[in-house]
């Protein structure tokens, strides 16, 4: 177990080092930051002083090492455009993104699980096959198309919910939440649906597949043989046994959703990290781009590592059962 832990965490760190290297390369590709930061009248001495202050006179590897050390402490420098600390900029945008992704994840479970159960139980009936067919759209339609359609229908035509911004927010310490105000709750509906649609179909398909598998198992047959009503067999015995893979999927995909949120945030002008990143790309604000890349990857890698470790903790019991 300890060996596994070391191996798994070691590989997570390696991945992060590689990501940090890519992020670091952004600066190399970007050209000389000194030229971007100083004004026209700066003397060569000024430039050299700045270069030294930024550590740009150091060898390449040393610079990379410094970047990693700083990044590990959450220091990504100063935004070229706004001259503000990158980390605090991102921190101010983080709650919006996390709330959006959280609501989308919940939606995918609340809608996806019942749909999966129903399509499994009523396999072969028209509405079950219909849902299964519709879910193909959910998987294959690009999310920006879905977002635009949602805005068009529910915001522009019907005027049910806003298709723009985050509404009013309330500050809880450094965290700002839109979930406590009516306008904030209204504003999150459409972007959350747009972001969740893909995940809903994924959850539905996984639950359906798992249910069909579990419904064939001996303990379900045995439960039928001892007269347990179908409803209880389906929703208590069978569904319970499907939740593990669903929980795994949801945890693993949390990171993916954060990345996908980039598109949703752009279409809905949702003031999250994704929008910040897109604006940074347009403004060639390299420190923000690098920080975004590193932070998203860190969330991603952490979740995956955690899920793997939790599985390894649970696995001995499962293996023991199979003896």
């Amino acid at each position: 177990m300890l060996a596994f832990l070391i191996k798994r965490i070691g590989s997570a760190i390696l991945v992060m080092l590689a990501v940090a290297f890519l992020a670091f390369l952004i600066f190399a590709v970007a050209g000389d930051p000194v030229e971007m930061m100083v004004n026209e009248q700066a003397t060569q001495a000024d430039r050299d002083a700045l270069r030294e202050r930024l550590g740009l006179d150091q060898p390449f590897l040393v610079q990379y090492f410094t970047f990693v050390i700083n990044a590990a402490q959450g220091e990504f420098g100063i935004s070229y455009q706004t001259q503000r600390d990158v980390m605090s900029l991102i921190a101010s945008r983080l709650p919006a993104t996390l709330e959006l992704v959280f609501i989308a994840s919940m939606l995918s479970l609340i809608v996806g699980i019942p749909l999966g159960v129903i399509t499994a139980i009523h396999r072969g009936k028209w509405f079950s096959e219909g849902l299964q067919f519709l879910s193909i759209f959910g998987v294959s339609l690009p999310s920006f198309v879905i977002a635009i359609l949602l805005i068009l229908v529910f915001s522009v035509w019907l005027g049910w919910a806003p298709g723009f911004g985050r509404g009013e927010t309330v500050a809880l310490g450094w965290w700002t939440t839109g979930l406590l105000t009516p306008s904030g709750r209204n504003a999150i509906i459409l972007p959350a649906i747009a972001l969740a649609l893909y995940e809903i179909t994924l959850v539905m398909r996984i639950v359906r597949a798992e249910m069909l598998e579990v419904l064939r198992s001996d303990f379900v047959k045995f439960a039928r043989a001892r007269g347990v009503p179908r409803r209880i067999i389906h929703y208590r015995h069978a569904l319970r046994n499907c939740l593990m893979p669903v929980a795994t999927l949801t945890a693993m995909n949390f990171g993916t959703l954060i990345a996908f949120a980039l598109v949703t945030e752009t279409v809905f002008q949702w003031p999250g990290m994704g929008l910040l990143f897109i604006q940074a790309v347009l403004n060639l604000d390299f420190p923000i781009m690098a920080a975004y890349l590193v932070i998203i990857s860190a969330i991603f890698v952490t979740l995956n590592t955690l899920v793997d470790i939790i599985y390894a903790v649970i696995d001995p019991r499962l293996r023991q059962e199979k003896v």
Partner: protein, 339 residues
């Protein structure tokens, strides 16, 4: 005597008691692309209270199918295509599913082959037993849990007060099968269908489980259909033996009679295959060949290609079940000869 109608020929062990289960001319079919497969063909037998009927036969003979048909748990497209099933005098083969659901567990208990996969790994054994009790007897949660403890004690699980809160994976194979037996008994059924209850267990534990089942049948008067392909198990536990071959019942008689004087050549072969009993039947120790597939059953007696005693008649006409002094057998040797 050879012309006795099969339905009348099916005697119970104690003819006075009303049978718990009465199966008459039962057929099960699977409609398929290449025609209809008859997995069970005209099966008839009775089960008296407290009686254990051992059902033997090669793999695919239709033993499990018989139990599933009685419980109405056949996987579609399989269905009962003929005959009747009576439980405690009431016909159940046509009951709607909702009423059948109430009989399962309540009147008909079940024991499956593999205790490991029969239990839901995510619930404690107490929960699963109490669930069965509550579904059928409407007891409160506390009462049901108390009864679950009693049941665990009755099936011989040590320290039931603790064990009731344990999960299936915390039990050994033999103990787990005892839990399954407790589940089968939970709602005090009149009939138990046990499909190879000891096949998945260690040999040393098999005997314990079988004697437990025997004791429970004697104590509670529950009747049991004991499916197995282990003649040894049946010889020790059952009252009567039913021998199945290619979806047909070919011999049914009290255990001692069958062991002493098997009438069907196939039964003789089966008994010859038990090491401990081999001395008694020195002539035939192994049956050559294998059972025909359901879509390739030969005309006449299904066993004729493998039968050492087959004559011309066996290849043309199918033998009906006819009475012997102690039971019934479907063989031309008992019905006027093979020629």
């Amino acid at each position: 005597m050879p012309d006795t109608a099969p339905a009348e020929a099916v005697a119970t062990a104690s003819p006075t008691a009303e049978p718990v289960l009465s199966v008459r001319n039962l057929s099960v079919s699977f409609p398929g692309r290449r025609g209809v497969l008859k997995a069970l063909d005209d099966i008839s037998f009775d089960l008296a209270p407290g009686e254990i009927l051992g059902m033997v036969g090669e793999s695919g003979a239709g033993k499990s199918m018989t139990g599933l048909a009685v419980q109405r748990l056949l996987e579609p497209p399989g269905h009962i295509s003929g005959g009747e099933v009576h439980l405690l005098g009431a016909r159940i083969d046509q009951l709607p599913e909702s009423q059948m659901e109430r009989l399962r567990g309540k009147q008909i208990g079940a024991i499956f082959q593999d205790p490991l996969t029969s239990l839901n790994p995510l619930f404690t054994v107490g929960h699963q037993i109490a669930e069965t009790i509550r579904v059928h007897l409407g007891a409160s949660r506390r009462e049901a849990m108390d009864q679950a403890r009693d049941l665990l004690r009755r099936v011989g699980i040590p320290s039931p007060d603790e064990r009731v809160n344990h999960y299936p994976h915390q039990f050994s194979g033999g103990m787990r099968q005892r839990v399954v037996i407790a589940l089968a008994l939970a709602a005090q059924p009149r009939l138990i269908i046990a499909d190879e209850p000891t096949t998945a267990l260690d040999v040393s534990i098999q005997a314990q489980i079988m004697s437990l089942l025997r004791r429970l049948c004697d104590e509670t008067g529950v009747a049991m259909l004991l499916v197995t392909h282990d003649m040894g198990v049946i010889a020790q536990t059952a009252d009567r033996i039913a021998v199945m071959y290619a979806g047909r019942l070919i011999e049914l008689a009290p255990v001692q009679e069958v062991l002493r004087q098997p009438r069907h050549p196939y039964t003789r072969g089966l008994i010859g295959a038990i090491p401990a009993l081999r001395k008694r039947v020195p002539r035939l120790t192994q049956i050559d060949g294998s059972m025909p597939r359901l879509d390739a059953i030969p005309p006449g007696c299904a066993f004729n290609p493998r039968c050492p005693d087959a004559g011309p008649r066996c290849r043309v006409d199918r033998p009906e079940l006819t009475a012997t002094p102690t039971g019934i057998v479907a063989c031309w040797m008992n019905a006027g000869g093979v020629t």
